[in-house]
Amino acid sequence: MKQRIKTVAKMSVLLTTAMLAMPAMAFAAEDGDAKLGIELLFPPLGEFIPMLIGFIILWIILAKLAWPHFIGMIDKRAEKIKDSLEKAEFAKQEAERLLEEYKVEISGAKKEAADIIANAKQQAEHVKAEITASAQTEAESIISKARRAIETEKKTAIAELQASAADMTIMVTKKVIGTDLSTAEHKSIIERYIAEAGSFNEN
């Protein structure tokens, strides 16, 4: 505040000096009186005093009426500028803080995204491995079943063939024995079988 008052006072002095100088120069031109040396710089005393009184009156009026209002405006303006600067500083700090937060969040999001992708890849690999293993097991089971079925069919066919061959052999043998043996030969067989037959207690 003091600084501002000093500034205003300096300005007033300069203004007063200018006012005092200007009428003197005018009067010098109008009077046509030749003045020499230092006289050219200072007005005559009769003119200086009214001017000084006018100046003082003007200064007092300005000091009472205009300066407080002017200084208040300046103070308000300074306060506003200060507030603005503070707000700007706060906003800057807030922006920097937010920027830092965003950077951290973006970094976290990037890390999370990378983790998600890694997990997804891992799960996909796991699922792929499971599907492959399942398909392989199923394929092996199908092949095994097919092999067993083929083996069973093969055994059945062989058994049927063996049975057919045996049946044919026995049928021929029965026909030969049944038709070719005489009663005497039958009795001979019976006699031999009785001799060879075991006891009832063995059965």
Binding site: A159, I170, I177, G178, I190, I194, N203
Partner: protein, 184 residues
Amino acid sequence: MKTNSANNRAKATVYAEVLLAAARVKNNVFAVANEFDLLTKTVRGSIELRKTLVDKTVPATAKRAIITEIFAGYASELLETFIVMVDRGDLAVLPRANELYTTLAEKALGAAFVDVTTVVPLDEALREQIISKYSAELGCGVMLREHVDSDLIGGIILSTHGKRIDASVSSQLERARHVLSKTF
């Protein structure tokens, strides 16, 4: 109170004992045993005959006529006993009565009945061979109940008291067929 099974056993015992008494009077115990066995097998083997004999709509006289027709030549005491059995509706006890009669007859005769099945009828030499061999084994006299069956092809089958000796060609061929079917 007797159960149905015990009741049937009692009835079978009565029929067997009555038949044995009648057969002993005629000194025909063994022949009746053979014929009783054949009669039982014939009835068991014919569903139509069994149905007819148990059919209550068929008159008793008709049943008698059927029995005497089918089993003509069988001992009269056997046929009379069987007719009574049919008239009283006791056909179900026939197999049991046959078994009991066989047991009672064996005791009465002091001999074991041996069923002998061959393709051709036995001659005396074969009968003697069988009787001498199995009398020694069974420790009692042996009476042969002879059967002829061409399905045997050859050889002999002997059986008594639920025991069986199968020395038939058909059985040997069957065993051979079984072995061949496994080893071909």
